[in-house]
């Protein structure tokens, strides 16, 4: 009724109305149909016909029973009859139909009664919309939610389990410690003398207590790992000594099986930052396994190799080996060797998984190379974070004490590299330069010690490795950072005064412990370079080089500024400046060249402007500006080339 009162109807533009209706019926994707009271189709739209693979005229006059299978048509008829009898619509009824291929289709059906002028029902309008896709999405969402809830509850269960293991293990420790003491007291005959038989019996108890203690400790460690609360406590240790000590401690056990333990170490002593107790645990575990899985006789080799950024420890045995398809599972929890008759079946299979976790916590890698029957080679690496070889034991103690007290330890390495043809490692710095820098460092350290009350000392220097090493111990990293910056500026000054070629200075500070309490040292690298080589004619090629020439220029706004050029050639130059110039700006440029009395005055035009540096807040601090010289006469061109050639020396 409302529609009939519509403006379009009133104006009587029937053709427009018909056209609109036709467009609706032709294009709407929903299935639309008109039925009479008896269920016969009066009119359908395109989508209806298409969906059934037929044409509109073929269905007019037919009923649902002519088109659809009987059971379905019956359902449709039921709804139709309801609508007609009750004179009420059915709106958005969701129906499901199974397709022949087994997939379910979902649709919503809307049936609205049609009335004549007198209010009697003469038929209905039906609209069916396919919502299969929507339904599918809804289902997926529900599945996803359910899955997430399951995951969450599993996580909670896992957490509870870890906590449970931890609590129980803790509770087990005290009685175990007591039993251990009791057994030791008995064996040491502090509670009275023991005869041989009694000793034998008590020793059996001692062995069991050891096994229990080991197991409890492992459980505790594993549960700490799982809960993410296992922390490394770093110290500086001599890895060679550690390996040797452990190797020696296993010698008796190995001898019982006729196994000898050999060492194959690299030449130099390695001082490593790691958690000594945990690394001991790793080594112990691996050696223990090596002995366990060698039936009798044979050699176990403890190997140590040093690489550029890491050390590698190898525990090589000549035992029974591991099957190829099991090598990647060997580090899994609870994995054990089956079918191997061992005199005492120890452990729950947590050892290697814990070892792997500990190695990973150090940022190292662990792997095994093995063949059934020919022994196994277990390797693990630990990062070599600190390169300077500390040989001074007193210094090592100082550092370890500081680490134990959880003070900040800052190691500052000044490494001076001279590069030839961009190959940093090929050249050695001249001794006089090294000594000069060394002197400055010593002076600065002494000064800082007094004035800033810093515990800062020089660890040593190595001319061959062009390194001077310093340590600073304190509560925060503020002072060491200030020191580093000061040092860097001073060294920069010496080098620029000496006009040496291509010297790089790398000032890296290692902090331990860092603010996040993660025992992984972060390297704060503040590196920069001072380079001064170019040739007049090859200038454009060597874009990276800085020039020891000062640039003065007149700003368009009538001011004067200085800057350092980055690149000069016959045709132009580029430089960095805070001010952003406009392309096309005219600049008067004065180039001051060392060893030349008269400066070079040129006129140029800004050819390009590029953003160069942003500070931490994202504010642009520097622009790189390229200037093209123009209006150069022959003489000026000659002078530029000459000047450039001069500086090249």
């Amino acid at each position: 009724m409302v529609y009939k009162k519509n403006k379009l109807v009133k104006t009587g533009k029937q053709e427009d109305l018909v056209r609109l209706f036709a467009e609706l019926m032709d294009n709407v994707p929903d299935v639309i149909y008109f039925k009479d009271k008896k269920g016969k189709i009066v009119l359908v739209n395109n989508a209806y016909a298409k969906g059934l693979g037929t044409t509109i005229d073929k269905v007019i006059g037919k009923t649902d029973f002519d088109i659809f299978p009987e059971n379905r048509a019956k359902i449709m008829q039921k709804d139709d009859l309801w609508v007609i009898k009750n004179k009420k619509p059915i709106i958005d009824k969701v129906e499901r139909a199974t397709r022949p291929d087994g997939q379910d289709n979902y649709v919503t059906t809307t049936k609205i009664p049609r009335f004549n002028k007198n209010g009697a029902v003469i038929g209905l309008i039906g609209i069916t919309r396919d919502i299969t896709r929507r339904k599918r999405l809804e289902q997926l969402e529900e599945d996803k939610d359910q899955m997430q809830r399951k995951i969450q509850s599993l996580k909670e269960i896992n957490q509870l389990k870890s906590e449970f293991v931890s609590i129980v293990s803790h509770e087990l420790r005290t009685p175990l410690a007591i039993i251990n003491q009791v057994v030791m007291v008995l064996l040491d005959e502090l509670a009275g003398p023991l005869n041989e038989r009694q000793k034998d019996v008590v020793i059996k108890a001692k062995n069991s207590v050891s096994r229990l203690s080991n197991m409890v400790n492992k459980l505790l460690d594993v549960s700490r790992m799982q809960r993410g609360v296992l922390e490394l406590h770093y110290g500086l240790i001599n890895l060679n000594s550690l390996l040797r000590d452990f190797g020696d401690s296993f010698k008796d056990l190995a001898q019982k099986k006729g196994i000898t333990i050999n060492y194959d170490f690299c030449q130099e002593d390695i001082n490593l930052f790691c958690d000594p107790e945990r690394v001991s645990q790793i080594i112990s575990n691996l050696i223990d396994n090596a002995i366990k899985f060698t039936e009798e006789k044979g050699v176990i080799t403890i190997e140590l190799r040093k690489f550029e950024t890491k050390v590698r420890v190898g525990i090589l045995d000549e035992g029974i080996g591991i099957a190829a398809n099991k090598t990647n599972k060997i580090f899994d929890k609870f994995s054990q060797v089956s079918g191997f008759a061992r005199s005492n079946k120890e452990g729950v299979g947590l050892g290697l998984s814990l070892v792997k976790d500990l190695v990973k916590k150090h940022n190292g890698e662990i792997w095994v190379k093995s063949k059934l029957g020919s022994g196994s080679k277990f390797y693990f690496t630990l990062p070599l974070i600190y390169k300077f070889q500390l040989t001074n034991n007193e210094m090592i103690d100082v550092i370890n004490n500081a680490l134990a007290k959880e003070l900040s330890v800052h190691l500052i390495e000044v490494i001076i590299i001279k590069s030839k043809n961009n190959m940093p490692d090929k050249c050695v710095v001249k001794k006089y330069l090294f000594d000069k820098i060394k002197k400055i460092i010593y002076e600065t350290v002494t000064k800082y010690k007094k004035t800033k009350k810093m515990d800062i000392r020089i660890i040593g220097d190595d001319y061959k490795k062009r390194t001077i090493s310093i340590v600073s111990i304190g509560k925060t990293s503020k002072k060491p950072i200030m020191f580093c910056n000061l040092l860097r500026d001073k060294i920069k000054k010496i080098l620029s005064e000496n006009i040496t070629k291509d010297v790089f200075i790398n000032l890296g500070t290692l902090h331990y412990p860092d603010k996040d309490k993660r025992a992984i040292p972060k390297q704060l690298a503040s590196s920069f370079s001072i380079q001064k080589i170019f040739t007049g004619r090859d200038v454009r090629r060597s874009k990276r080089f800085h020039y020891h020439a000062t640039l003065k220029f007149n700003l368009p706004t009538k001011g004067r500024e200085t800057g350092n050029t980055i690149d000069i050639s016959k045709g132009g130059l580029c430089f960095k400046n805070r001010q952003k110039f406009q392309k096309g700006d005219r600049l008067e440029v004065e180039i001051v060249v060392p060893n030349r009395k008269k400066s070079l005055k040129l006129v140029g035009r800004v050819a390009w402007v590029v953003q160069s540096e942003e500070d931490s807040k994202g504010v642009v601090r520097n622009y790189k500006i390229g200037i093209e010289f123009f209006e150069l006469n022959e003489n000026q061109r000659k002078i530029i080339i000459q000047a450039l050639d001069n500086i090249a020396k």
């Binding site: 003491q181 030791m184 203690s213």
Partner: protein
């Protein structure tokens, strides 16, 4: 040579008993008193004036730190050895203030607890007799 009078404080009865046997076996030790909690410990320190106190960091009721603070109020000279897990910042800080001689882990796979304790006790023995 003056042998040590030691006070051992721990809430586990059996631990106290067995450690007493062990400690008494050392040459540097004269006698071992025991206390099961902080209150009793403070009391015994006042009455008996021991040379060395060995106590646990974690105890129900008054924990090791509080016991220590209380004792230090009236006794600055007695040596203290504390059982603990890893040393951490808290323990280091107060060890300097309250003058703890040594921290020894109560359980450790890789260090011999007894040995560490014996070494510490002997050091104190030497210190007192120097």
């Amino acid at each position: 040579m003056q042998k040590l009078k030691i006070l051992l404080v721990d809430d586990e009865k059996d631990f106290r008993a067995i450690m007493k046997v062990r400690i008494l076996s050392w040459d540097s030790v004269d006698c071992v008193l025991t206390a099961q909690d902080g209150e009793k410990a403070v009391d015994l320190v006042r009455k008996e004036d021991p040379d060395l106190i060995i106590l646990d960091y974690m105890m129900p009721g008054m924990d090791g730190v509080r016991v220590l603070k209380k004792i230090r109020k009236f006794n600055k000279k007695v040596s203290i050895i504390m059982f603990t897990a890893y040393p951490n910042e808290k323990s280091i800080k107060f060890s300097e203030k309250l003058n703890v001689f040594a921290f020894i882990p109560k359980w450790s796979e890789y260090t011999d607890v007894e040995k560490s304790l014996k070494v510490a006790v002997n050091s104190i023995f030497r210190k007192i007799n120097s």
